[in-house]
C-alpha cells in the first residue's frame, strides 16, 4: 500500500512537472484568448477530478451501506473532502479565467452553477459528518447524503442548462474551438497528472483516516 502510494505520487509529480512545462512553455498562446488559455490546463483537470471524486463518493457510499466495511467509509470521506476541494479549485480557476476572457468573474453559465451547487452539497456532506452524534452515525448519514447528492448531479445539471438555454440565448456562444495539437497534449498530460494526483491524495487521506480510526478506538479502550 505504501509503495503503491509512493509510486502514484512520484508519477503525479513527474507528470505535473511535464504538464507545467508543456502548458506554460511548449504550447502556443491561443489565437483569441492569448496566454489566458493556459489557465484551462489547470481548470479543466480540476473540474474533471471534482467529478471523479463525486463518483468515488457515490460508489464508496453504496458499498459502505451495503457491506458495512470501514474502509469504504474511509474512501468516501476522503473523496468527499477532495470533491469539496476540487470543486472550489475549479470554480476559482474558472472565475480567474472568466474575468479576462469573458470580461466578468461570474456568468450564470450552466456548468458554473452546477459546480457551485455541487460544492454546497459536499460542504453539507462534510458538515453532517462532523456534527453527527458519533463517528459511525456520521459515516452512515454522510453516505446517505453522498448517494442523494451524486444521484442529483445529472438532474441539477440538465435543469440548470435548460433553465437558461430554453428561455434566453446563452450569453456566451462558444463555437467549435479547434485546438492545436500542442494544446491538446498540454491538456491531456495535465488531465492524467491531476487524476494521478487525486489518486495519490486519496490514498494518503485514506491512510490517515485509518490511523485516526485506530487512534480513536485505542483511546476508547484505555
Amino acid at each position: 500500500m505504501r509503495s503503491l502510494s509512493s509510486l502514484v505520487g512520484g508519477a503525479a509529480v513527474i507528470l505535473l512537472a511535464a504538464g507545467l512545462y508543456v502548458g506554460l512553455v511548449a504550447s502556443p498562446p491561443d489565437a483569441f484568448q492569448g496566454d489566458y488559455v493556459r489557465i484551462m490546463y489547470v481548470h479543466v483537470p480540476s473540474a474533471f477530478v471534482a467529478y471523479l471524486a463525486v463518483g468515488t463518493v457515490f460508489v464508496a457510499s453504496i458499498l459502505y451501506l451495503w457491506r458495512g466495511r470501514e474502509v469504504y467509509d474511509h474512501v468516501a470521506h476522503s473523496a468527499g473532502e477532495l470533491a469539496a476541494l476540487f470543486t472550489a479549485l475549479a470554480l476559482a480557476g474558472g472565475m480567474i479565467w472568466g474575468k479576462p476572457v469573458w470580461g466578468t468573474w461570474w456568468t450564470w453559465d450552466a456548468r458554473l452553477v452546477t459546480t457551485a451547487i455541487l460544492f454546497l452539497i459536499f460542504a453539507g456532506y462534510l458538515l453532517v459528518r462532523e456534527l453527527a452524534e458519533d463517528r459511525r452515525r456520521g459515516a452512515r448519514l454522510a453516505a446517505v447524503i453522498g448517494i442523494i447528492g451524486a444521484l442529483d448531479v445529472p438532474i441539477i445539471h440538465y435543469s440548470v442548462v435548460w433553465f437558461r438555454t430554453l428561455h434566453q440565448p446563452a450569453s456566451i456562444v462558444r463555437g467549435d474551438i479547434k485546438m492545436a495539437p500542442p494544446m491538446v497534449t498540454a491538456l491531456m498530460i495535465n488531465l492524467l497528472a491531476f487524476a494521478l494526483l487525486y489518486l495519490y491524495l486519496l490514498l494518503q487521506r485514506v491512510r490517515l483516516e485509518r490511523l485516526e480510526a485506530a487512534g480513536a478506538a485505542a483511546g476508547a479502550e484505555s
Binding site: I121, E133, R140, L141, G149, L151, I155
Partner: protein
C-alpha cells in the same frame, strides 16, 4: 396491519396533530406571505414574475416546515415508540411523506390564491393545471425533505442544517416548477421537458429515499 393502513394511520396522526396545533402551517404560511410581499415589492409585481416568486416562497417556507413533524416526534419522545412497532420502517417514511405533501399542498393553495390576487395573474381558469404542477414539485420536495428531516435528528444543530442540505438538492424542483408554471400560464411550448424532469426527480427519489430512510432510522 397492512402496509397501506399503517401508512394512512401515520399520516392521519401527523395531520391530526398539525390540525390541533396548526403550528407548522401557520409559520410556513406567514413566511411564504412575507417572501411574496417582500419580493413583490422589491422586484415589482409584474405578472410574469409570479411563477418565480411562487416557487421561491414555497421552497423557503418548506425549509422551515419540513423537519417539524419529525422534530415534534423527537421532542415528545414518541419516535422510539414508533420505531418499536414491528415491521418495516418504510411505512413510517411513506406516512411522513404523505403528511408533508398534504401540508405543503395546503400551502401551495394559499400561495396560488395570494399570487393571483396580489400579482393580478389571471390563473383562475388554469387553476387545476397549476395545482397539478405544484403537487408534482411538492411530491419530490417532500421525498427528499422527509429523508433529511429524519437525518438531521442525529446531527447537532438539527433544523439549522436543513436549508444547506435540502436547498441545493431540491434546486431542480424549484427551477422545473418555475418553468413549468410559466409554460402553463402563457401556454408556451417546452413544458413537456420540464414535466419529464420533475417526474424523473420524483420517481428517482421516491424510489431511493425509502431505502435510505431505513439506514437513517436504525439505532446506532
Amino acid at each position: 396491519m397492512s402496509a397501506w393502513r399503517r401508512t394512512v394511520a401515520l399520516a392521519r396522526k401527523d395531520l391530526l396533530l398539525e390540525w390541533r396545533g396548526r403550528e407548522t402551517i401557520t409559520a410556513m404560511a406567514v413566511l411564504a406571505l412575507l417572501v411574496v410581499l417582500l419580493l413583490g415589492f422589491v422586484l415589482g409585481a409584474e405578472p410574469p414574475r409570479a411563477p418565480a416568486i411562487l416557487w421561491v416562497a414555497l421552497a423557503l417556507a418548506a425549509m422551515l416546515g419540513v423537519a417539524r413533524p419529525t422534530q415534534a416526534e423527537v421532542e415528545q419522545q414518541a419516535l422510539e415508540t414508533l420505531l418499536l412497532y414491528p415491521g418495516s420502517r418504510e411505512h413510517l417514511y411513506w406516512g411522513k411523506w404523505a403528511a408533508l405533501t398534504v401540508l405543503l399542498t395546503v400551502l401551495l393553495a394559499l400561495l396560488l390564491v395570494t399570487l393571483g390576487v396580489l400579482f393580478n395573474v389571471d390563473l383562475w381558469a388554469k387553476l387545476p393545471a397549476l395545482f397539478g404542477v405544484g403537487v408534482l414539485g411538492i411530491a419530490g420536495l417532500s421525498a427528499v425533505g422527509t429523508l433529511f428531516a429524519a437525518l438531521v435528528i442525529h446531527v447537532r444543530g438539527r433544523e439549522l442544517l436543513m436549508p444547506l442540505l435540502l436547498l441545493p438538492v431540491a434546486l431542480p424542483v424549484v427551477l422545473g416548477g418555475v418553468r413549468l408554471t410559466e409554460a402553463v400560464l402563457t401556454d408556451a411550448p417546452g413544458g413537456g421537458l420540464w414535466f419529464g424532469m420533475l417526474a424523473v426527480f420524483d420517481i428517482l427519489f421516491l424510489l431511493v429515499a425509502p431505502i435510505l430512510y431505513e439506514v437513517v432510522m436504525e439505532e446506532a
